[in-house]
């Protein structure tokens, strides 16, 4: 079994998590390379406890995973969670095209007078 109990978090959770600018910054830093809380706090304009708090939200959303390295914990993006972001666009376009279909068919219906 893999240790990814939170990997089933929904895409909505992932996007809510990234709705915060600081959390998005944390996420983007981790996209560059895996790193510790201390390394993140050194390059972001927030305190270590704040970074830890943001990491917890990202972990709960399935976007980030942690692994121990000596006395520290190294955080990295969860490949399954990041795939969820791509899936978000996938579903966005499905929804958009469904909406498009409704609009074009309504505007094509021959039984009604066409509005200018």
């Amino acid at each position: 079994m893999t240790n990814q109990a939170t990997a089933t978090a929904s895409t909505a959770d992932a996007f809510t998590a990234l709705g915060d600018r600081t959390r998005l910054a944390v996420f983007e830093r981790l996209a560059e390379h895996p790193q510790s809380v201390g390394q993140l706090a050194a390059v972001l304009p927030v305190s270590r406890p704040a970074v830890s708090q943001h990491l917890r939200v990202l972990k709960d959303a399935g976007l980030v995973i942690a692994r121990p390295a000596g006395t520290r914990r190294i955080y990295q993006l969860n490949p399954e969670g990041v795939a969820a972001l791509r899936d978000h666009l996938d579903r966005f376009w499905d929804r958009a095209l469904t909406s498009f279909k409704a609009a074009v068919e309504q505007q094509t219906r021959p039984s009604q007078e066409r509005q200018p």
Partner: protein, 163 residues
């Protein structure tokens, strides 16, 4: 440069009961009649969406306060068959001003019958949106690895759909 990979794109399609000319015009100039309401990046309330029907034109949102957000550049405009526009929006649904970090959307229209049109959409070059996408690709190592990760995610989504 990193090679273009087929995995950094999203593809979807739909069949609409409308002639190809109408499907094309509603998709482009009529974009404001169907674009999902929750996905606008203006801070002001939306007044209208404008699709400028020419290569070099823009797609933009107009706010009730007069503000504008040009979030796409029209890259190809070939009525009624094909349109391509850039996606100048970043991963957090904000305007991306670094054009090297933008992806593109191609829509192809194909007549299936005089009153039925097949619409195919591809949102590609997603890897350009920045380091996040590259890290994602590196994290999974190969297209095969990527595909299997995505496959298991999709399978999980399907089984996790609420009743």
């Amino acid at each position: 440069m990193t090679p273009k990979t087929a995995t950094a794109s999203v593809q979807t399609s739909i069949v609409v009961d409308a002639p190809i000319d109408r499907a094309f015009s509603v998709f482009t100039e009529g974009i404001g009649t169907w674009w999902p309401q929750e996905h606008h990046i203006l801070s002001a309330e939306l007044a209208a969406m404008v699709f400028e029907p020419r290569v070099g034109g823009h797609i933009y949102d107009k706010g009730v306060d007069g503000s504008e957000c040009r979030w796409a550049r029209v890259l190809a405009y070939e009525p009624p068959n094909r349109v391509v526009f850039s996606w100048d929006i970043n991963l957090s649904w904000e305007l991306e001003t670094d054009l090297a970090k933008t992806s593109e959307v191609e829509i192809r229209f194909r007549e299936e019958a005089p009153d039925r049109t097949h619409v195919e959409l591809e949102h590609r070059n997603l890897e350009r949106h920045g380091d996040g996408w590259e890290a994602m690709r590196d994290a999974v190592g190969s297209p095969e690895g990527w595909g299997s990760v995505l496959g298991s995610f999709v399978a999980r989504l399907q089984t996790a759909t609420p009743a």
